[in-house]
């Protein structure tokens, strides 16, 4: 059996010695699609930084994949400054910088791989356009292409559907599902909206008021479970075979 891609064992993560999240224990197995869900400020980004190796644990053991495992990362689109004069192809090419080398120029095969990655996410025609001129959904696809161009075994996405309309959301998530099925990529997706991952992730990690609840989507995505986690009445409805999480206005007493 292949070892887990990520393993958190009683991990505490935080900044300047102060823990933001504590007692985090979970694993991500090869081929998993894990949705890390929680409201803004719950500590999702802190766990994400731990996953990416940007934060060292204050406590506990955190095992990450070695350098032989390629990791693709899709940051929050809003973190990137649109003032940079970069085309879509320039941005995607950045995903190949480690292969190209520090001081070498990209070779034709690198450009071919960029074109293929753009083709894969459906925006090949936009390669020469400035990144800043794209719509939110197109920018997200561009960042996904950059993460995929290095043919990663693990893909980590930070709020990839933020500020997208319903069409944009489903396009990105369908794309992720395709990538996962075709290439067996392990996916960890961070989002603050449970509905976004309800129909795509195999497993959910729900972060609420400092507690992390992890389980298979099927078992966690029930009205009872979610009501217990969130401390308010939550129902899970099925519409056209797709699950939708509904929060009720009055808190449960």
């Amino acid at each position: 059996m292949a070892p887990p891609v990520f393993q958190f064992d009683d991990v505490a993560l935080g900044y300047r010695g102060r823990a933001v999240v504590e007692h985090v224990t979970f694993t991500v197995e090869p081929g998993d699609f894990l949705g890390l869900v929680g409201p803004n400020g719950a500590g999702k980004t802190t766990i994400l930084r731990g996953l990416l190796g940007m934060l060292r644990p204050l406590h506990g053991t955190l095992l990450r994949p070695g350098p032989e495992t390629t990791l693709g990362y899709v940051p929050q689109r809003r973190q990137l400054d649109g003032v940079f004069p970069l085309t879509v192809a320039d941005v995607v090419l950045m995903g190949l910088y480690p292969e190209i080398g520090l001081v070498r120029r990209p070779r034709p095969q690198h450009h071919q791989r960029v074109a293929a990655a753009l083709e894969r996410v459906g925006i090949a025609a936009l390669a020469a356009l400035p990144y800043r001129d794209l719509s939110g959904g197109q920018q997200q696809r561009c960042l996904l292409a950059r993460a995929l161009v290095g043919e990663p075994a693990v893909l980590v996405l930070d709020e990839p559907t933020n500020d997208l309309d319903i069409g944009g959301e489903s396009e990105i998530l369908d794309l992720l599902r395709t990538v996962r099925h075709e290439h067996g990529v392990t996916i960890v997706m961070v989002t603050h909206l449970l509905n976004i991952v309800a129909n795509y992730a195999d497993r959910l990690a729900i972060l609420h008021e400092g507690r992390l609840t992890i389980g298979a989507t099927e078992s966690l995505l029930t009205g009872d479970q979610l009501s217990r986690i969130y401390g308010r009445r939550v129902a899970v409805e099925t519409v056209d075979g797709r699950r939708a999480v509904v929060y009720h206005a009055a808190p449960e007493r």
């Binding site: 190796g53 990362y73 400054d81 940079f84 941005v91 480690p98 520090l102 001081v103 290095g150």
Partner: protein, 506 residues
């Protein structure tokens, strides 16, 4: 026609070469500064660098190291200390700002403001407590690449080549870390270290640019070419190319304006660069098509001109070998001897501005050997030209300069220029200037000139013997005051020595 066009570059090779180097370096780095939104950080770091330079002069005063008037070279500490400490302070400032920018509790602009105020204040305090450095600090703020020394030019060229090489080699990773630091980390780059290295490069470039060309020139090159490139292009490489073209074109146009209409080079280059940016703004979308090509065409003459001026400089410092492949064994030729004739001819120009600019170039290029030609300009009919030459002779210094200024005192008709000459003499350590100041008090027609003369007298002697410059010199109170000054002069004449630390004669 061609001669007329090329004349400024032939006459000011060192300053043109330095301007081109600063343009190349700052324009390339400017794109990173603009895109990382750290223009204000760069301004604060420049103040830190100025603080370092001022601190070096303060240290020199504390250690008793002083510049000798007329000496061929400054003491070693004064040659190396200011740039070394300026660089050190700039790098420390950049490191501090790079570190502080991660702290989110206070706005980063606040920290930058604190850095700017503290560094600027310390610079002025250090200079006020040292006997020298005021001129350097003034040059840093106003910019005076025209007077660049060989040592500063060498430093500028070497720094430019070194830093541009590092930038060219690692521009991909600098760009990635600037655009998306988190992704850079996931790709295996130590993004924090790369960003810090880029900050250090910017700090080093700023420090050298300030020392060589001054604040205005450095920031004009840092901001305007990059902005023009970003306005005209959506891609990194063309934006960089256009920024470099604008910098070269601006440097060439600025140097030409400096010579032709006797403008200070820093503002001249800044205006030239602003014209390029203005064109990019005014022409809008249409300009995006043809302006980049236009700028490349305008920049093209800079390449042969830079090559020529570089050759001139290298020949001047004797690095270029003789055609045989061996270093020339003969006596070292007079620096730039083939240019001296042309410049002396230009001193006869019908335009006062050209005569002034030529005088400046002569003084910057040849120093003391130019005195004989400069002295001839002391008889110029134009007051502005005479004033420039008096200042230049004072800056060159030495006994020959002192004698030339003394001779000029007998001939000068303008009270204002007599005062300037007397002041220059006193700055040179020649107490003969006092006699002239007293002459101005007694016979000067302009009360403001008399007031300045009294002020210089008080400052240079540390003595207060009265005299109301705004009143009639023949008024009884002023006559008495004048008698006291004359008695003081009679008592001290021939025995006064200037204290180099305080500038006061005792």
């Amino acid at each position: 026609m061609l001669y007329e066009l090329l004349h400024p570059f032939e006459a000011l090779p060192a300053s043109y070469l330095a301007t081109v180097c600063l343009g190349l370096l700052c324009a390339t780095l400017g794109l990173f500064v603009l895109l990382r939104r750290i223009v204000f950080v760069a301004i604060a770091v420049s103040e830190a660098s100025a603080g370092g330079i001022a601190f070096a002069f303060f240290l020199a005063s504390v250690l008793g190291i002083h510049r000798e008037h007329g000496a061929e070279h400054d003491p070693w500490f004064l040659q190396v200390g200011p740039i070394a400490l300026g660089l050190l302070f700039a790098l420390a400032g950049m490191t501090l700002f790079a570190w502080r920018s991660r702290e989110s509790r206070v706005p980063s602009e606040g920290t930058i403001g604190v850095g700017y105020v503290v560094a600027g204040g310390l610079a002025l305090i250090f200079v006020s407590k040292s006997a020298q450095g005021l001129e350097e600090l003034h040059q840093i703020l106003a910019g005076s690449v025209v007077y660049i020394s060989d040592a500063r030019l060498d430093l500028t060229v070497v720094t430019t080549v070194l830093l541009l090489t590092v930038l060219a080699l690692f521009h991909k990773v600098f760009l990635l870390c600037s655009f998306d630091e988190e992704t850079a980390r996931t790709l295996g780059y130590r993004a924090g270290h790369w960003s810090w290295l880029l900050h250090l490069i910017i700090g080093a470039a700023l420090s050298v640019s300030l020392y060589a060309g001054g604040l205005l020139l450095a920031f004009a090159f840092l901001v305007l070419p990059g902005l023009t490139g970003l306005r005209l292009h959506d891609r990194w490489a063309p934006a960089t190319r256009t920024a470099i073209a604008v910098a070269l074109s601006g440097a060439t146009l600025g140097a030409w304006l400096c010579w032709e209409i006797s403008l200070p080079i820093g503002p001249a280059v800044a205006v030239a660069l602003a014209l390029h940016y203005g064109l990019a703004v005014v022409t809008g979308e249409r300009g995006r098509r043809w302006l980049p090509i236009g700028f490349l065409v305008l920049a093209a003459p800079a390449l042969p001109l830079t090559a020529l001026t570089a050759y001139d400089h290298l020949a001047h410092v004797q690095l270029v070998r003789a055609p045989s492949g061996k270093a020339s064994d003969g006596p070292r030729p007079e620096p730039g001897a083939r240019k001296l004739e042309d410049m002396v001819r230009a001193l006869q120009s019908e335009f006062p501005a050209e005569r002034s600019a030529t005088a400046r170039a002569l003084a910057a290029r040849f120093g003391a050997p130019a005195l004989v030609h400069l002295e001839s300009l002391l008889e110029d009919l134009d007051v502005g030209v005479r004033r420039t030459v008096i200042e230049l002779i004072g800056e060159i210094g030495g006994p020959t300069a002192s004698r030339a200024l003394r001779r000029h005192l007998d001939r000068e008709q303008s009270d204002e220029l007599e005062l300037a000459t007397a002041h220059a003499l006193l700055e040179l350590g020649d107490a003969f200037g006092f006699e002239s100041l007293l002459h101005i008090l007694e016979h000067g027609d302009d009360p403001f000139v008399r007031e300045e003369a009294v002020s210089i007298l008080r400052r240079s002697t540390g003595v207060e013997l009265g005299f109301d410059a705004l009143e009639d010199p023949q008024a009884p109170a002023n006559r008495e005051a004048l008698d006291r000054w004359l008695a003081w002069w009679e008592q001290h004449e021939g025995r006064l020595k200037r204290d180099p630390a305080t500038g006061v004669y005792r």
